[in-house]
Symmetry: C2
Subunit: 349 residues, 2 copies
Amino acid sequence: MPRVSRPSSDLPPGQASAPTLDEVASRAGVSRATASRAINGGDRVSATARAAVEAAVRELGYTPNPAARSLVTRRTDSVALVVPEPDERVFSDPFFVHTLRGVNRMLAARDLQLVLLLARPGDERRLLRYLGSRHVDGAIVVSHHRDDQLADHLAALALPCAFIGRPWTSADRVAYVDTDNVAGGRAATELLIERGCRRIATIAGPGDMAAGIDRLKGWRAALRAAHLADDLVGHGDFTEHGGEMAARQLLERAPDLDGIVAASDLMAAGALRALADAGRVVPDDVAVIGYDDVGVPGRTTPPLTTVRNPIGEMAEQAVRLLLEQINDQRGPRPMRVIFPPALVRRDSA
Amino acid sequence: MPRVSRPSSDLPPGQASAPTLDEVASRAGVSRATASRAINGGDRVSATARAAVEAAVRELGYTPNPAARSLVTRRTDSVALVVPEPDERVFSDPFFVHTLRGVNRMLAARDLQLVLLLARPGDERRLLRYLGSRHVDGAIVVSHHRDDQLADHLAALALPCAFIGRPWTSADRVAYVDTDNVAGGRAATELLIERGCRRIATIAGPGDMAAGIDRLKGWRAALRAAHLADDLVGHGDFTEHGGEMAARQLLERAPDLDGIVAASDLMAAGALRALADAGRVVPDDVAVIGYDDVGVPGRTTPPLTTVRNPIGEMAEQAVRLLLEQINDQRGPRPMRVIFPPALVRRDSA
DNA sequence: CCGTCCAGTGGGAGCGCTCCCATCACTGGC
DNA sequence: GCCAGTGATGGGAGCGCTCCCACTGGACGG
């Protein structure tokens, strides 16, 4: 191998070892303790000392070593976002994407870093090992399914955590935020009933997610209360394609249907497409209502009437619940915040 | 506030302070140094000692403190994935999603953790501060645009990094992987020409991303070589909706067009929809070819002929380039790997 | 039988930081 | 004029780990 000539130096070129607090302190003419206080915004520091330290920090380009800091503070200032989702579907779901962005924004505002933990089914051991070794101060879990027993495991680890969407198990042991999906499904259905629909189908979500089941339950409750039939249940996987397929089948089974309650906007958009193909006019022939009110509804033809999920506020609350557990020495404990859903009327119903 | 009775103990219940290496060592009857060697798989440890340490680890549920470890090793065993993307579009693009998953998988296989850095335009300072404080061992950057001068900044930080997609600036100072997008655009266009198309349009990608520009360049080169007109340029934003709009406009401008080269599969899918609406048969009336070959092409009607981007291999190589810089003490340096694109023939052309 | 070697081991330093506590110079009240 | 009180400071311990280095004892060759 050819020898490359380079300036002989103990330090790698351009990568001088980072300045330490000691260097900052001595440059500022104060002790390490004072420098630390000045940097961390503590009081009990004279204006003179603080100014000197700040100048030294700037001149040296000092940046605290996070490992050393967290060794003593026992804080890492980072939070895991756990996504126990085997396939990439989550990323194409605006609900998830907006949740991710909301959580990220909230954390950034508090100078916390988000660590993304994508866990495929086999990876649970790795996941739990990571969380167990206190790499992060806490975890936020989204899009969990019946079969991962994540809530159980996290409760056992005693790691502060917050679920977005009610966990299947240990719902009384961990903190979570959610919306009232039964009420939402019910409200959506009642809207169609009020508008005169009598043959109302639903395109339900996956059977292993709480949100899907609850919205279906609400749909059913509204129909029964109005003495209408609740036999028209199609199933989708929260994708546009799934919604389209389900709508086609429903149309075949019940050509007389005049209303569709979809468990997500994406599925409602698919249904809209199937209806257009079948020559049905929305909302005159068939009224359609979606769920979530994010990303999709404004772009469909016609614009989608939907049930609004306050995603931003949910993400905010989840972070808040998490931080409360992290900061209070009482540690992890169950807390919950349930948001009411809200109807958003546009043109499809 | 009601007082809650609880067993008086110095330790929070269920949250005894984590066992340290010292405790493991004394339980195993060896020194801390030997325990460390046994745990880290070093040799120079007798079978007896190793077994004793492993037993102690298991009994105590010991897990090394990452902060303490990285304080001395100067490694954090985590890597940042930087996404300097202002809006959520990235997440709906299968290309990005698969890249994310590929990178995550590669890192997980090496026991490295992925830290997601979503940077909105204003956040650059925060981003650079984070990267500069050596929170992570290196960074992988995707979906960067002309205006973020990320490559310049990272080169200045001397932090190991790898770009996916050629950076706009400092391309000779940082490592990156890419595919030959000019060749791909050219090959796609030549396929249409061979098949007999004579009036070939393109739906180009954003003008501030290298991939979009290069594919357009390839399209143009192929047409010129065949002495065909290269005036039919539509613009999309890599989304399905954008592709549909662009295709509509192109059809209006040139009703006689008989081929469309789209710069992404998502845009090709949109074009397919526009063509169907216009009553054109694909590929008989109009041949369509996409780009990327991930997620979309199998699901369209008809299935999409496309140019394959080896996303998995690109992610793999990016991680490899990064690790090479991290592990070799030579530090960050420019390296590049360019993949050849490959045509994948299905039914749309 | 003694020196040499080496696998195996433990002592101890030190990574860069925070925070407890002792110290010190001042101030103001009696 | 002295002492308690107060704000600012620095010394030093210690967080949990890795790794350098010195040490040990048994195997082995001369």
